[in-house]
Symmetry: D2
Subunit: 295 residues, 4 copies
Amino acid sequence: MKERLRGVFAPITTPFEADGKVAYDALKSNMEKYAASPIHGYLALGSNGENKSLTNEEKEKVLKIIVDYKAPQQIVMAGCIFESTIETIDFAKRAEQMGADFITMLPPSYFKKQMTDAVLIKYFTDIADAVSIPCLVYNAPQFSGGITLSPALIKEVSKHPNIVGMKDSSTGNIDKYLMAAEESFAVMAGSANFFFNALLMGATGGVISLANAFPDITVALYKATYQLDIQKAIALNKKILRANKAVSGKGGVAAVKAAMDLAGFYGGDPRLPLLPMDKEDIEEMKKTLIKEGIL
Amino acid sequence: MKERLRGVFAPITTPFEADGKVAYDALKSNMEKYAASPIHGYLALGSNGENKSLTNEEKEKVLKIIVDYKAPQQIVMAGCIFESTIETIDFAKRAEQMGADFITMLPPSYFKKQMTDAVLIKYFTDIADAVSIPCLVYNAPQFSGGITLSPALIKEVSKHPNIVGMKDSSTGNIDKYLMAAEESFAVMAGSANFFFNALLMGATGGVISLANAFPDITVALYKATYQLDIQKAIALNKKILRANKAVSGKGGVAAVKAAMDLAGFYGGDPRLPLLPMDKEDIEEMKKTLIKEGIL
Amino acid sequence: MKERLRGVFAPITTPFEADGKVAYDALKSNMEKYAASPIHGYLALGSNGENKSLTNEEKEKVLKIIVDYKAPQQIVMAGCIFESTIETIDFAKRAEQMGADFITMLPPSYFKKQMTDAVLIKYFTDIADAVSIPCLVYNAPQFSGGITLSPALIKEVSKHPNIVGMKDSSTGNIDKYLMAAEESFAVMAGSANFFFNALLMGATGGVISLANAFPDITVALYKATYQLDIQKAIALNKKILRANKAVSGKGGVAAVKAAMDLAGFYGGDPRLPLLPMDKEDIEEMKKTLIKEGIL
Amino acid sequence: MKERLRGVFAPITTPFEADGKVAYDALKSNMEKYAASPIHGYLALGSNGENKSLTNEEKEKVLKIIVDYKAPQQIVMAGCIFESTIETIDFAKRAEQMGADFITMLPPSYFKKQMTDAVLIKYFTDIADAVSIPCLVYNAPQFSGGITLSPALIKEVSKHPNIVGMKDSSTGNIDKYLMAAEESFAVMAGSANFFFNALLMGATGGVISLANAFPDITVALYKATYQLDIQKAIALNKKILRANKAVSGKGGVAAVKAAMDLAGFYGGDPRLPLLPMDKEDIEEMKKTLIKEGIL
């Protein structure tokens, strides 16, 4: 299973019309380009997909397009982010039916104080028991009210036959998770900031928002690192760190979308309350991307 | 408008069947008792109502029951908690159509880093512009990823003709909000821990989970304080602080529901991933409530 | 012992010359005024005294002046703030020899991760065992790296015959400490923001930086509350909350010192790296204090 | 200057007698071993040296021994950790006189709320202006009340001719500092957890507590990485990550000292309130170290 989680995964953004409706045709057009790119797979309905700003109906339509338009060898992970077990299971089953290869599960956090390791282990287990496709846990304290998954929790869930890996979007010091988990458990980097480092420590791959705008260079870094062509990898990593700082370090999803627009994809504005990136900030970002030879 | 926010509001819990389905009949039965009690109003679909664990369809059914079963003079506030402006407006309009008197708005927090004062002011304003019923903002860092509303934000939104108050569930030092806001802006306490203190500082009332199980003593404290019968109020407050510590201080919604069961309402279990309170903890809680003469 | 902790205590500031040296004569002059005021006592070498910015030699000289110049009935608490048990005990013994009535102990926090309840209980106990004068613990997460003393810790230390009380400078929800502690244990408020509320909940008094500049009105609030003259207390509290927001809410020690200058005491500049308050901010503060009739 | 900050620096621990006094002879004996080891230098009086638990007199004696016993080519950085500018400068000058090569400066944090970038830049600048030896800033939120140095601050101080580098003990994502700082500015890793990664991103070296017990393997990792012998480096890094998790991940200074005892150095107990490591935890640590072939 670990082999299917190797490489660069793009956390697909959801394009919107000016009136806030989902721009499904724009998504199709983006997917046609990604399908022709060297990226290994997708995270559908993740944080960059503005999962929590979509209705369930919109989520299903988005997922269907991604599954339909991907290249055959590309893998699809579907984000299932809800506060109740029952809703997560309902959507996870829908994702399975629609052809997702994996689902990813973020810890509920509204009742953060009650989310002990025991409660979260039961949550992840209940979902993994309810679907047939393999499941990943998603560690992203910035999006889950400050909840950081503990190595003890990872140790426990990694024993479940249907919980096969995790995506870490916290600090990238993934060694604590690698040491805690079963050998078969895959750890993926959730940010370009530590993608290279994580690969050297044993990550199988990464879910990298920069790949939404620049799939080629992101895959090039993955390949150079995987082949231990270390001088090339270090040089590519420097470019990518500077580019990533100029993009998602600056403005989150809005910046990722602005970079996509610059790179010839349909980025567009995020959904309110998120605001688009300032024009000036976009100009500055553009300069950095050109200077690094990425744009 | 401030007059309509005076008194004790119960943040109604959502009862569930053993299989996790909403127990609508149990809710009706609870509401019949509340309608006969001295409480001044309700928060429907708040945190204690497990708002984020319900589907939109379930939320509408719950709200309808509360509106239908309340006593005529009782007020209903409806919680509207979504991450996108568009979904919040959609639901707020439905709540208005269904007869809610007020809506309450929690700041989106999934993209916490982007939730600047400017973004949140636009969010609250967009919603308040879209509905006719008056709106309250809800300050609850424990439920919104650590976001605490700033006095500067409150100053700004309090100028909007349709944003008429706030509920503060943070620390209860509401003076900073009272000083910042327009005179007409109502501040309500969101916890029994500082309800009495907040009233003395100028709060109009409180949304008090203890009122779900013990409406009478909670209203008695409100009345004694409002009438400056200070020795009586101090004595009642001591009882209530001890009771509240034994209830929601211990286990959040699960404990509020356990206390409701003890008091003759239908509490039941919370929805997964939340777990019911341990039997031992319930026994200890019961002892405290009996000792304080509340049960 | 609780009786000796009733009333308003001023957390004496340390005046400095322009070159950063301690202005001992200015301190004497301030103390002569405080000795003639109605305040009940002093916290020497607390946070407002810039304890951590003084050498031990300076601390001793400051403490000696406070003990020598106070009125006979006034009480002196001496802040003992060190990271190691050995240094805290050394200084606590010196404070005892010099005539302090109480010492106050802040939890060490440099190695915050190691500061479990067990470690802190041993720390407080070791010190309380080593001196003959009674000891208070000081709960101030803003000054101790985020460490908030737990009710369980307070329960435990309150059993020690020589740990007689605490000063709470966190949120003022002191009921959780009152409920946990032995009956004989005194809880004092550490901020004007919740002094009034804390008194109504059972605090014996407060250590109030506003008393450094305005001892009379602060004592007036204490007396009105103590006598349950509640309408007078509420009115005084409103003035004090507004004044306190304009003073320490704005700029910490620098603002307290600026207010002292306005009120005829020697405030002066704080020690570097702390900067004095901006002239504009002082003007704004002055306006508020005049408007409230305090200046 | 950057060349002098290359390699592995050991953050020397302070040994104590059973009664809590500093064991100067034990320190001399440890230093004799370090002088014969391949490590490139020392951090005297850092966090592992329990700086904040020592009197100034003790600090000077410790620093003198380290300077006197080091090998000629080895570099000494001296930790200067105080809350006031005046005390930091006084000690920094003493360190210079005593022969330290660099001083390191931690941001004051007692008055954390006031420690804006402007205040901290002035603080670092005032000290760097007052001494002739070059200065490093020390980024360690876990020890400075949560203060994380901003890239904007690093950008500014890196322009000062006498502020030549930094030690980062936060998350190891040092690229944000490297991108912000002047080319001449050295960035050092403050933990074995990200030493390898930081070197690949451009760090000059590291201050690594594991080197106190195991200087050889730590230097071996540095050399393999510096020479881009990447397969060897990855293998060594895996061992070191596991060892470091078993040591400082477990119990901070107490664990580092226990590991030193196992490795034939004088570790001993930390100073109270820090407690020594449990015997059971030491046994477990020992097993891991033996398993990894480090002990």
